[in-house]
Protein backbone atom coordinates (compact mmCIF):
# COMPACT_ATOMS: atom_id res chain seq x y z
CA UNK A 1 0.00 0.00 0.00
CA UNK A 2 1.23 3.47 -0.83
CA UNK A 3 2.21 5.56 2.14
CA UNK A 4 -0.07 8.45 3.05
CA UNK A 5 0.95 11.56 4.98
CA UNK A 6 -1.59 13.26 7.24
CA UNK A 7 -1.27 16.84 8.43
CA UNK A 8 -2.76 18.03 11.72
CA UNK A 9 -2.62 21.60 13.01
CA UNK A 10 -4.07 23.38 15.98
CA UNK A 11 -6.06 26.58 15.70
CA UNK A 12 -4.15 29.81 15.19
CA UNK A 13 -4.05 31.71 18.44
CA UNK A 14 -5.08 35.24 19.29
CA UNK A 15 -4.27 37.35 22.34
CA UNK A 16 -5.76 40.56 23.72
CA UNK A 17 -3.43 42.86 25.63
CA UNK A 18 -5.32 45.72 27.22
CA UNK A 19 -4.24 48.89 28.99
CA UNK A 20 -0.88 49.25 27.29
CA UNK A 21 1.50 51.95 26.18
CA UNK A 22 3.30 51.76 22.81
CA UNK A 23 5.46 48.82 23.90
CA UNK A 24 3.23 45.81 24.13
CA UNK A 25 4.36 42.50 25.60
CA UNK A 26 2.94 39.40 23.94
CA UNK A 27 2.87 36.20 25.98
CA UNK A 28 3.04 32.46 25.49
CA UNK A 29 -0.72 32.50 25.03
CA UNK A 30 0.08 33.74 21.52
CA UNK A 31 3.37 31.98 20.75
CA UNK A 32 5.27 29.64 23.03
CA UNK A 33 8.03 30.67 23.52
CA UNK A 34 7.66 34.33 22.54
CA UNK A 35 11.27 34.28 21.35
CA UNK A 36 9.96 32.62 18.19
CA UNK A 37 8.79 36.08 17.20
CA UNK A 38 11.47 38.28 15.69
CA UNK A 39 12.08 41.48 13.76
CA UNK A 40 10.53 40.13 10.56
CA UNK A 41 7.44 38.53 12.10
CA UNK A 42 5.29 41.40 10.89
CA UNK A 43 6.61 41.68 7.34
CA UNK A 44 6.68 37.89 7.02
CA UNK A 45 3.00 37.73 7.81
CA UNK A 46 3.45 35.70 10.98
CA UNK A 47 1.49 38.03 13.25
CA UNK A 48 -1.21 40.61 12.82
CA UNK A 49 -1.42 43.59 15.18
CA UNK A 50 -4.69 45.38 15.86
CA UNK A 51 -5.61 48.35 18.05
CA UNK A 52 -9.13 49.01 19.29
CA UNK A 53 -10.05 52.46 18.12
CA UNK A 54 -10.72 55.08 20.78
CA UNK A 55 -11.58 58.75 20.40
CA UNK A 56 -8.20 59.61 21.94
CA UNK A 57 -6.25 57.92 19.14
CA UNK A 58 -4.72 60.00 16.37
CA UNK A 59 -4.26 57.77 13.36
CA UNK A 60 -1.91 58.15 10.41
CA UNK A 61 -3.34 58.84 6.97
CA UNK A 62 -3.40 55.14 6.01
CA UNK A 63 -6.26 54.43 8.38
CA UNK A 64 -8.88 56.95 7.34
CA UNK A 65 -11.43 57.46 10.10
CA UNK A 66 -11.88 54.24 12.06
CA UNK A 67 -15.05 53.49 13.96
CA UNK A 68 -14.69 53.73 17.72
CA UNK A 69 -14.65 50.28 19.26
CA UNK A 70 -13.48 48.51 16.09
CA UNK A 71 -10.15 46.72 16.07
CA UNK A 72 -8.03 48.39 13.40
CA UNK A 73 -5.26 46.40 11.72
CA UNK A 74 -1.87 48.08 11.86
CA UNK A 75 0.27 47.13 8.81
CA UNK A 76 3.78 45.90 9.50
CA UNK A 77 5.14 49.35 8.66
CA UNK A 78 3.31 50.61 11.73
CA UNK A 79 5.05 48.45 14.32
CA UNK A 80 8.32 46.71 15.10
CA UNK A 81 8.91 43.40 16.79
CA UNK A 82 11.83 42.81 19.12
CA UNK A 83 14.36 40.21 18.02
CA UNK A 84 13.54 37.81 20.83
CA UNK A 85 11.47 39.26 23.68
CA UNK A 86 8.04 39.19 22.04
CA UNK A 87 7.64 42.92 22.58
CA UNK A 88 5.80 44.79 19.84
CA UNK A 89 6.41 48.53 19.62
CA UNK A 90 3.92 50.74 17.85
CA UNK A 91 5.31 53.43 15.53
CA UNK A 92 4.17 56.83 16.68
CA UNK A 93 2.39 59.15 14.29
CA UNK A 94 5.03 61.78 14.94
CA UNK A 95 7.56 59.40 13.35
CA UNK A 96 5.37 58.11 10.50
CA UNK A 97 2.38 60.17 9.46
CA UNK A 98 1.06 57.35 7.28
CA UNK A 99 1.24 54.13 9.30
CA UNK A 100 1.94 55.55 12.75
CA UNK A 101 -0.61 56.21 15.45
CA UNK A 102 -0.61 58.41 18.52
CA UNK A 103 -2.02 56.40 21.40
CA UNK A 104 -4.12 57.70 24.22
CA UNK A 105 -2.24 59.01 27.23
CA UNK A 106 -4.68 56.95 29.25
CA UNK A 107 -3.38 53.39 29.12
CA UNK A 108 -6.89 52.04 29.66
CA UNK A 109 -7.87 53.36 26.25
CA UNK A 110 -5.19 51.35 24.44
CA UNK A 111 -6.38 47.80 23.87
CA UNK A 112 -4.39 45.61 21.48
CA UNK A 113 -5.15 42.32 19.78
CA UNK A 114 -2.52 40.02 18.26
CA UNK A 115 -3.48 37.35 15.79
CA UNK A 116 -1.13 34.55 14.79
CA UNK A 117 -1.40 33.93 11.04
CA UNK A 118 1.08 31.04 10.67
CA UNK A 119 2.06 28.04 12.74
CA UNK A 120 5.52 28.73 14.13
CA UNK A 121 5.76 26.95 17.47
CA UNK A 122 6.56 23.30 18.03
CA UNK A 123 3.68 20.95 18.70
CA UNK A 124 1.09 23.02 16.84
CA UNK A 125 1.57 21.59 13.35
CA UNK A 126 2.64 18.03 12.57
CA UNK A 127 2.66 15.51 9.77
CA UNK A 128 2.52 11.74 10.31
CA UNK A 129 2.85 8.82 7.92
CA UNK A 130 -0.17 6.53 8.03
CA UNK A 131 2.11 3.55 8.62
CA UNK A 132 3.00 4.90 12.09
CA UNK A 133 -0.67 5.05 13.18
CA UNK A 134 -1.18 2.81 16.21
CA UNK A 135 -4.91 3.23 16.83
CA UNK A 136 -7.51 5.56 18.28
CA UNK A 137 -9.77 5.45 21.29
CA UNK A 138 -12.57 7.52 22.74
CA UNK A 139 -11.83 9.94 25.54
CA UNK A 140 -15.44 11.02 25.97
CA UNK A 141 -18.46 11.75 23.82
CA UNK A 142 -16.77 14.44 21.79
CA UNK A 143 -13.04 13.73 22.15
CA UNK A 144 -10.88 10.98 20.70
CA UNK A 145 -7.15 10.31 20.90
CA UNK A 146 -5.25 9.22 17.80
CA UNK A 147 -1.95 7.49 18.53
CA UNK A 148 1.19 7.46 16.40
CA UNK A 149 4.65 6.13 17.02
CA UNK A 150 6.61 8.82 18.85
CA UNK A 151 8.80 11.10 16.78
CA UNK A 152 11.35 10.97 19.56
CA UNK A 153 12.02 7.34 18.68
CA UNK A 154 11.04 6.30 22.21
CA UNK A 155 9.41 2.90 21.77
CA UNK A 156 7.63 3.23 25.12
CA UNK A 157 5.85 6.45 24.13
CA UNK A 158 3.45 7.76 21.54
CA UNK A 159 2.52 11.02 19.91
CA UNK A 160 -1.14 11.85 20.43
CA UNK A 161 -3.56 13.91 18.41
CA UNK A 162 -6.56 14.72 20.58
CA UNK A 163 -9.49 15.41 18.30
CA UNK A 164 -12.56 17.33 19.43
CA UNK A 165 -15.51 16.36 17.26
CA UNK A 166 -19.29 16.27 17.23
CA UNK A 167 -20.95 14.43 20.11
CA UNK A 168 -21.09 10.68 19.57
CA UNK A 169 -19.21 10.96 16.25
CA UNK A 170 -16.49 8.46 17.08
CA UNK A 171 -17.52 6.11 14.29
CA UNK A 172 -17.63 8.92 11.74
CA UNK A 173 -14.15 9.95 12.87
CA UNK A 174 -12.94 6.38 12.56
CA UNK A 175 -14.24 6.29 9.02
CA UNK A 176 -12.55 9.61 8.26
CA UNK A 177 -9.23 8.30 9.55
CA UNK A 178 -9.60 5.08 7.60
CA UNK A 179 -10.56 6.94 4.42
CA UNK A 180 -7.63 9.34 4.79
CA UNK A 181 -5.16 6.54 5.25
CA UNK A 182 -6.50 4.49 2.39
CA UNK A 183 -7.27 7.47 0.23
CA UNK A 184 -6.92 7.09 -3.50
CA UNK A 185 -5.22 10.46 -3.39
CA UNK A 186 -1.51 10.07 -3.87
CA UNK A 187 1.33 12.40 -4.59
CA UNK A 188 0.19 14.93 -2.04
CA UNK A 189 -0.19 15.38 1.69
CA UNK A 190 -3.63 15.04 3.22
CA UNK A 191 -4.84 17.96 5.30
CA UNK A 192 -6.77 15.96 7.88
CA UNK A 193 -7.46 18.98 10.08
CA UNK A 194 -5.63 22.29 9.83
CA UNK A 195 -7.01 24.72 12.36
CA UNK A 196 -7.85 28.24 11.28
CA UNK A 197 -8.29 31.56 13.05
CA UNK A 198 -9.72 31.94 16.50
CA UNK A 199 -9.85 35.68 15.95
CA UNK A 200 -13.02 37.25 14.61
CA UNK A 201 -14.40 40.62 13.59
CA UNK A 202 -11.98 42.75 11.63
CA UNK A 203 -9.10 40.27 11.96
CA UNK A 204 -7.72 38.34 9.02
CA UNK A 205 -9.85 35.20 8.98
CA UNK A 206 -8.19 31.93 8.00
CA UNK A 207 -10.64 29.07 7.61
CA UNK A 208 -9.89 25.61 8.96
CA UNK A 209 -9.15 22.87 6.42
CA UNK A 210 -10.77 19.49 6.93
CA UNK A 211 -10.68 16.16 5.16
CA UNK A 212 -13.57 14.83 3.12
CA UNK A 213 -16.20 17.34 4.19
CA UNK A 214 -15.61 16.72 7.88
CA UNK A 215 -18.36 14.15 8.57
CA UNK A 216 -17.20 13.82 12.20
CA UNK A 217 -17.67 17.52 12.81
CA UNK A 218 -14.10 18.11 13.98
CA UNK A 219 -13.75 21.51 15.59
CA UNK A 220 -10.17 21.35 16.89
CA UNK A 221 -7.12 19.18 17.43
CA UNK A 222 -4.53 19.23 20.18
CA UNK A 223 -1.10 18.01 19.09
CA UNK A 224 0.62 16.25 22.02
CA UNK A 225 4.11 15.14 21.03
CA UNK A 226 6.23 12.91 23.25
Amino acid sequence: MKEKYLIFAEALTTEDVNNSDITVQTTTALVDPVSLLNATSGSDGIIEVQLKDHADHDWGSHYGTPTAGDYVTIPHQGFTVHASSGIVTIVEKSADGVYGVALSSTAGNNDFRFNLLKHVDGGTLACFPASKFKGMQTVDADETDLYFEAGTGDLDAVDVIKVTHGANKYKELAEMVNDAMSSAKSGAAIDFFVGGSTAAGTATIIDALTFNGNPAGITSVDVQLD
Partner: protein, 106 residues
Protein backbone atom coordinates in the same frame (compact mmCIF):
# COMPACT_ATOMS: atom_id res chain seq x y z
CA UNK B 1 11.73 -0.03 -0.93
CA UNK B 2 11.84 3.75 -1.13
CA UNK B 3 14.73 5.57 0.45
CA UNK B 4 15.19 9.24 1.13
CA UNK B 5 18.46 11.02 0.39
CA UNK B 6 19.52 14.19 2.17
CA UNK B 7 22.71 16.13 1.56
CA UNK B 8 23.94 19.27 3.31
CA UNK B 9 26.53 19.86 0.61
CA UNK B 10 27.26 18.54 -2.85
CA UNK B 11 29.36 16.58 -3.41
CA UNK B 12 29.06 14.87 -0.03
CA UNK B 13 32.65 14.20 0.88
CA UNK B 14 32.91 14.42 4.66
CA UNK B 15 31.39 12.71 7.65
CA UNK B 16 27.79 13.79 8.19
CA UNK B 17 27.45 15.51 4.81
CA UNK B 18 24.71 13.20 3.60
CA UNK B 19 22.39 10.47 4.79
CA UNK B 20 20.12 7.88 3.20
CA UNK B 21 17.11 6.78 5.25
CA UNK B 22 14.47 4.18 4.42
CA UNK B 23 10.86 5.29 4.13
CA UNK B 24 9.88 2.80 6.81
CA UNK B 25 11.87 4.71 9.44
CA UNK B 26 10.13 8.06 8.93
CA UNK B 27 8.24 9.05 12.10
CA UNK B 28 6.87 12.56 11.66
CA UNK B 29 7.41 16.23 10.96
CA UNK B 30 7.02 19.03 13.49
CA UNK B 31 7.39 22.79 13.25
CA UNK B 32 10.36 24.39 15.03
CA UNK B 33 10.13 28.08 14.21
CA UNK B 34 8.96 30.54 11.56
CA UNK B 35 11.72 29.29 9.26
CA UNK B 36 12.32 25.66 10.17
CA UNK B 37 10.68 22.30 10.54
CA UNK B 38 12.10 18.97 11.64
CA UNK B 39 11.78 15.54 9.99
CA UNK B 40 12.25 12.74 12.50
CA UNK B 41 13.33 9.19 11.69
CA UNK B 42 14.07 6.15 13.80
CA UNK B 43 17.63 6.42 15.04
CA UNK B 44 20.05 5.15 12.45
CA UNK B 45 22.11 3.28 15.05
CA UNK B 46 19.09 1.29 16.28
CA UNK B 47 18.84 2.90 19.70
CA UNK B 48 15.51 4.19 21.00
CA UNK B 49 16.08 7.72 19.79
CA UNK B 50 15.75 9.57 16.52
CA UNK B 51 17.88 10.82 13.70
CA UNK B 52 16.50 14.06 12.32
CA UNK B 53 16.77 16.51 9.50
CA UNK B 54 16.20 20.19 10.19
CA UNK B 55 14.71 21.88 7.15
CA UNK B 56 15.22 25.63 6.71
CA UNK B 57 12.44 27.20 4.68
CA UNK B 58 11.00 30.57 3.74
CA UNK B 59 9.45 32.40 6.70
CA UNK B 60 5.92 31.35 7.55
CA UNK B 61 5.95 28.45 5.09
CA UNK B 62 6.02 25.52 7.51
CA UNK B 63 2.88 23.88 6.22
CA UNK B 64 3.94 24.48 2.61
CA UNK B 65 7.29 22.84 3.29
CA UNK B 66 5.55 19.87 4.94
CA UNK B 67 3.18 19.52 2.01
CA UNK B 68 6.03 19.69 -0.50
CA UNK B 69 8.08 17.09 1.38
CA UNK B 70 5.07 14.81 1.87
CA UNK B 71 4.26 15.05 -1.82
CA UNK B 72 7.87 14.21 -2.66
CA UNK B 73 7.74 11.20 -0.34
CA UNK B 74 4.37 10.03 -1.65
CA UNK B 75 4.93 10.70 -5.31
CA UNK B 76 5.58 8.26 -8.09
CA UNK B 77 9.23 8.30 -8.93
CA UNK B 78 11.36 6.62 -11.55
CA UNK B 79 13.95 5.80 -8.96
CA UNK B 80 13.52 4.52 -5.45
CA UNK B 81 16.22 6.80 -4.08
CA UNK B 82 14.49 10.16 -3.69
CA UNK B 83 16.46 13.32 -3.09
CA UNK B 84 13.68 14.83 -1.00
CA UNK B 85 14.89 18.42 -0.97
CA UNK B 86 15.55 18.42 -4.69
CA UNK B 87 12.17 16.90 -5.53
CA UNK B 88 10.30 19.13 -3.09
CA UNK B 89 11.93 22.22 -4.54
CA UNK B 90 11.37 21.10 -8.14
CA UNK B 91 7.66 20.59 -7.51
CA UNK B 92 6.77 22.98 -4.72
CA UNK B 93 3.20 23.56 -3.66
CA UNK B 94 3.88 27.27 -3.90
CA UNK B 95 5.31 29.09 -6.87
CA UNK B 96 8.93 29.04 -5.79
CA UNK B 97 11.35 26.66 -4.07
CA UNK B 98 10.90 27.04 -0.36
CA UNK B 99 13.65 24.89 1.15
CA UNK B 100 16.96 26.69 1.40
CA UNK B 101 19.08 24.42 3.59
CA UNK B 102 19.12 21.29 5.71
CA UNK B 103 21.02 20.13 8.76
CA UNK B 104 21.53 16.43 9.41
CA UNK B 105 21.61 15.20 12.99
CA UNK B 106 22.50 11.53 13.06
Amino acid sequence: MKTYYFSETSPADAAGDAILLPQSTFLNMDVLSATSIIMQFKKIDGTHDNSHITITHAAGKAIDAMRALAAAMAGNTKFNVIDLVEVANLHPVTSAPIISAITITI
